[in-house]
């Protein structure tokens, strides 16, 4: 059931997917790992679309150097916890959803509890060790993992359905070295929006997901392309995982 305010808020998208689709979004719970460059557009677009419950996790404080890209956070937020800032903005942009903002470092001791019964995990991290941890968790819980990564004007994204598609370890078995990566805000804007688009399609059970395909964006050339990816039967993360009821969200 929707309030009159919700009906007005979502009017233009309910033309696309009706009450049933909007109800699916309202019932959905999405876990966003990171409230930074990718987490900002992902969370904002999922919030305005009406994803009913958003859990967003980050351990950092807003720094001035974040503000060229992390559009959840404003100049006045410098020095505040990113989770505090994120919760405030997401509630302001849509007071009809529930936002859990958790200030903690995601690690192997807490990841499973943090994700809880979420319907999907969005990778908005900036490092591969945590991405691999979330990848393992998505496989264990049999929920989708929406990967994104950026550097400079380049970005990549893919949607991982455990047991069906290649997992993150199939695609990238080894982590690259850590670095202070260069970035301009439009790149996470583009990739984060692709990830949010994937989440919406998954929840709504419409369209073709970015599965088995690595979406690659080259902002310098304004060129997007995709590379087909296959499962690695010997993958240490998902090699033994059989196909399950992964189309559960499909209509």
């Amino acid at each position: 059931m929707f309030s009159e305010r919700e009906r007005e808020r979502y009017k233009r998208q309910m033309i696309l997917f009706g009450d049933e689709g909007q109800e699916r979004l309202k019932k959905a719970h999405i876990f966003i790992a990171g409230a930074g460059g990718l987490g900002s557009p992902v969370s904002l677009y999922l919030a305005v679309a009406g994803v009913g419950t958003i859990t967003i996790v980050d351990m950092d404080v807003v720094d001035q150097t974040n503000l060229n890209r992390q559009i959840l956070h404003f100049d006045r937020d410098i020095g505040r916890k990113k989770t505090t800032s994120a919760k405030e903005k997401l509630r302001e942009i849509n007071p009809d959803i529930t936002v859990h903002a958790i200030d903690v470092k995601i690690d192997e001791t807490n990841a499973a509890d943090l994700v809880g019964k979420a319907d999907g995990i969005v990778d908005a991290m900036d490092n591969y060790p945590t991405r691999y941890l979330l990848n393992d968790l998505a496989i264990a819980k049999q929920i989708p993992f929406f990967h994104g990564g950026i550097r400079g004007f380049y970005g990549q994204a893919t949607t991982i359905i455990p047991g069906t598609t290649p997992c993150l370890k199939c695609i990238f078995p080894k982590a690259p070295p850590k670095e202070v990566f260069p970035v301009v805000g439009v790149t996470p804007g583009i990739i984060g929006t692709v990830q949010a688009n994937e989440v919406l399609k998954y929840v709504l059970g419409i369209g073709e997901l970015l599965t088995g395909r690595l979406f690659i964006w080259d902002g310098m050339q304004a060129h997007a392309e995709e590379i087909c990816m296959e499962r690695n039967p010997y993958c240490e993360a998902c090699g033994g995982v059989a196909k399950k009821t992964t189309a559960g969200k499909k209509k």
Binding site: G37, R151, G155, Q156, K174, P176, F181, I216
Partner: protein, 92 residues
């Protein structure tokens, strides 16, 4: 014979992309990429380690199929092949 080499992300910044390379029959994947990467020392060190082997995180593909780093030195390239070399992009 001609092979097309496509670099992505950081590798593309350093070495360009869509490089058409004339190679002799029997040229192996690793030796082809080594030759091209050496045109820019920074590009070379981005892709190869000090022993001249691919960094373990580098992804190699030939005509859309994954090539294991361990097999690249003995994988020949053929006329018309399209090769892709790219790193995982880590920022978020």
């Amino acid at each position: 014979m001609t092979v097309k080499i496509r670099f992505f992300a950081r590798f593309r910044e350093l070495l360009g992309t869509d490089i058409m390379s004339d190679v002799v029959a029997g040229t192996m994947f690793t030796s082809l990429i080594t030759t091209i990467a050496k045109k820019n020392p920074e590009g070379y060190t981005a892709i190869f380690n000090e022993k001249g082997a691919f960094h373990e995180f580098v992804i190699l593909m030939k005509n859309g199929k994954r090539i294991d780093i361990a097999d690249a030195a003995k994988t020949p390239v053929a006329d018309g092949d399209e090769i892709a070399v790219f790193p995982p992009v880590a920022g978020g």
